[in-house]
């Protein structure tokens, strides 16, 4: 937008020159609209900054595959293992998701070639588009497949996280799958329904302090072209956004709205949580439970002192691995979901609530999100920080070929986090449980059940999870 086209804040709020300010545009309290701050707006409005970041991640992604396929097979000396499973995985859990929700999705390189082909251009949409543009099958909607993907990661984690070739092939496979799905289905089918990291980011994006929301819904109802929906890579209609789980922060809706009626808000943490769900879909509840189960298993395998468990998780195809897989799936598919369902059912019975059990499970599963996010962060403190010296090392010798490009190849320094990491982990689990408890309380109040009997069994479930996590991390 050039100077002559600039409109004042009042005009922007009112939707056009001469209109009066409509109070409805301030419907969302405690929000700062970053898109309407002059220093930030150009960075979001132009596609160039996002493209440059995407180009950088795409280049890094291709190099990661190359390093995985052709570099040293010793994981701790290979860029692919260290940058994917130590640096990126840590950054995702400690920075991208807690502070930016699905911000990684907005620069993720995996769906880019398919998306460029779909839209017939890289920066701008072309006139000629490619692909069958089919709708994603209704039966496969929701986050069931993402949960399945995350369970697969867990089953093969010990090998995936340590084998350079396998990491490269998995990345290549995801790249190919995303491309094929872009050619067959409309929009970002891979990101919305398949990508396990998308599921992980999406579910915890509800806790994050950013959101894309419509400013005044009345303006949207009179706008027949729905350019925001037409341009959204994810196929979302911003007016219908109930939470931030699905929005990949591509910013196309902000760029394409002719009324400048969409905001990129900074908001209080967890603004999406504590709403009473009318939905009876259990996919998100299941995903939240899989995240809890996976956090427990990852902590036991990678941080625990049980060598037999590590060997079993690593020896893919062996009898110990089959037993490990059986235990892992039983924990995630049976034990944890059953205990959670039992807790919700008990709460419903105890409080004489008239809500259907499926709806209550869907609603109460929100309580699990802060708990799960902070459990993953606490796990990461033990998992990644003691291995940060590897990052410095592979920067100088990314392929493990004996190079020393920056003079840091032989770095042995590693932050000694042992003194404070345990205290930090206890604190993180406390914050997660405090937050979960306050959401349970909010839900109980909104369900007109101020005696909290409805919430108590769910809170007992959360407490038991926290204590087990505590034992795995600092016990």
């Amino acid at each position: 937008m050039n100077k002559s086209q600039e409109i004042t804040w009042e005009e922007r709020i009112s939707g056009g020159k001469g209109d009066r300010i409509k109070p409805a545009r301030f419907a969302l309290p405690q929000r700062i609209d970053l898109y309407h701050i002059s220093g930030i707006r150009p960075l979001l409005e132009s596609r160039w900054p996002q493209f440059l970041l995407r180009a950088l991640t795409l280049a890094g992604f291709i190099f990661t595959i190359f390093a995985g396929l052709f570099g040293s097979r010793v994981g701790s000396h290979n860029f692919s293992i260290i940058f994917v499973w130590i640096a990126w995985w840590t950054a995702l859990k400690l920075v991208f998701i807690p502070l930016g929700g699905r911000s990684w999705c907005s620069v993720c390189p995996i769906p880019l070639p398919g998306e460029w082909l779909q839209q017939g251009g890289i920066l701008d949409k072309g006139t000629r588009r490619f692909g069958l543009n089919l709708r994603w099958p209704k039966r496969l909607k929701g986050s069931w497949l993402q949960s399945g993907g995350f369970l697969l990661i867990g089953l093969f984690s010990a090998l995936t996280l340590t084998d350079t070739r396998l990491t490269a092939w998995i990345l290549l496979g995801l790249f190919g799958l995303a491309f094929v799905l872009s050619v067959v289905f409309e929009r970002r089918a891979f990101c919305s329904y398949i990508c396990p990291i998308g599921g992980f980011s999406g579910i915890y994006a509800k806790t994050a302090p950013v959101e894309v929301r419509v400013i005044d819904t009345a303006i949207c109802t009179t706008h027949s072209e729905k350019t925001c929906y037409q341009n959204c890579s994810w196929g979302l209609y911003p007016v219908a956004l109930r939470d931030s789980a699905q929005c990949g922060l591509c910013m196309e809706c902000l760029r394409s709205c002719p009324q400048d009626n969409i905001a990129f808000n900074l908001r209080p943490f967890g603004s999406d949580l504590g709403q009473v769900h009318l939905s009876r879909h259990l996919d998100e509840a299941f995903l939240a439970l899989v995240m809890l189960g996976s956090a427990l298993v990852f902590s036991a395998v990678f941080i625990g002192p049980w060598g037999g468990l590590k060997s079993a998780a690593f020896a893919i195809g062996s009898t110990p691995w089959l037993l490990y897989g059986l235990a892992f799936l039983t924990l995630n598919l049976v034990v944890i979901p059953s205990f959670f369902a039992l807790a919700v059912w008990s709460g419903e019975r105890w409080s004489a609530s008239k809500i259907q059990l499926r709806q209550a499970i869907a609603s109460q599963s929100q309580v699990l999100l802060p708990l799960g996010l902070f459990a993953w962060i606490a796990f990461t403190i033990s998992f990644a920080l003691p291995k940060m010296n590897y990052v410095l090392s592979v920067i100088s010798d990314p392929l493990g070929w004996g190079w020393n490009l920056l003079g840091t190849a032989n770095t042995t320094w590693s932050p000694d986090v042992s003194a404070f990491s345990s205290i930090l982990q206890v604190s993180l689990l406390m914050v997660g449980l405090f937050w979960s408890a306050s959401i349970a309380r909010r839900l109980a109040i909104r369900n007109s059940s101020p005696d909290y009997r409805q919430a108590l069994p769910t809170l007992a479930f959360c407490l038991v999870f926290s204590v087990v996590m505590l034992w795995l991390l600092v016990g």
Partner: protein, 153 residues
């Protein structure tokens, strides 16, 4: 006094009470069973990607000797918080002696790249009672109470 002001005072009281309890949990000394320090020797076999035994329990003040024997490839051992390290070639035994003067639970790790799961080859040294764990359990319990009881409607 207005109902809202009264509610605010109740909330403040709850937070003060919870903070007091939290401070008590953090700083209250836990009685320690006085034991005479003894010499303890552990023979640890290290193989991909496990120590056996993987959990060592000693009392504070004990003089601990670890005899590390690698059975397949070269393995090492360093203990978090103790600034100690040793390395064993296959079939050879390396010794490490120290006084367990820090109480708590400490991980020990392999220091020589020994295969895919090397970064996760971990054992545990338990020195006396793990007070952090018990205090942590009480603190997460208090955090739960604070979430339910200490926030506004």
């Amino acid at each position: 006094m207005k109902r809202e002001t009264w509610s605010r005072w109740i909330l403040i009281f709850r937070w003060v009470a919870l903070a007091g309890l939290a401070l008590l949990v953090v700083f209250l000394p836990i009685p320690v069973n006085a034991t005479t320090p003894v010499k303890r020797t552990f023979r640890i076999q290290a193989s991909q990607f496990a120590y056996s035994p993987a959990v060592l329990s000693v009392n504070p003040g004990d003089r601990v000797t670890i005899e590390l024997t690698a059975t397949d490839v070269v393995h090492g051992l360093s203990i978090d918080g103790y600034d100690l390290e040793t390395k064993s070639d296959p079939g050879q035994t390396a010794r490490l002696t120290f006084v367990a003067n820090q109480q708590g639970s400490f991980r020990f790790r392999c220091t020589v790249t020994c295969g895919n799961m090397h970064p996760f080859m971990i054992g545990k040294l338990q020195v006396g009672q793990n007070n952090l764990l018990w205090r942590g359990v009480l603190l997460v319990g208090l955090a739960l109470v604070a979430g339910v009881w200490g926030t506004r409607k």
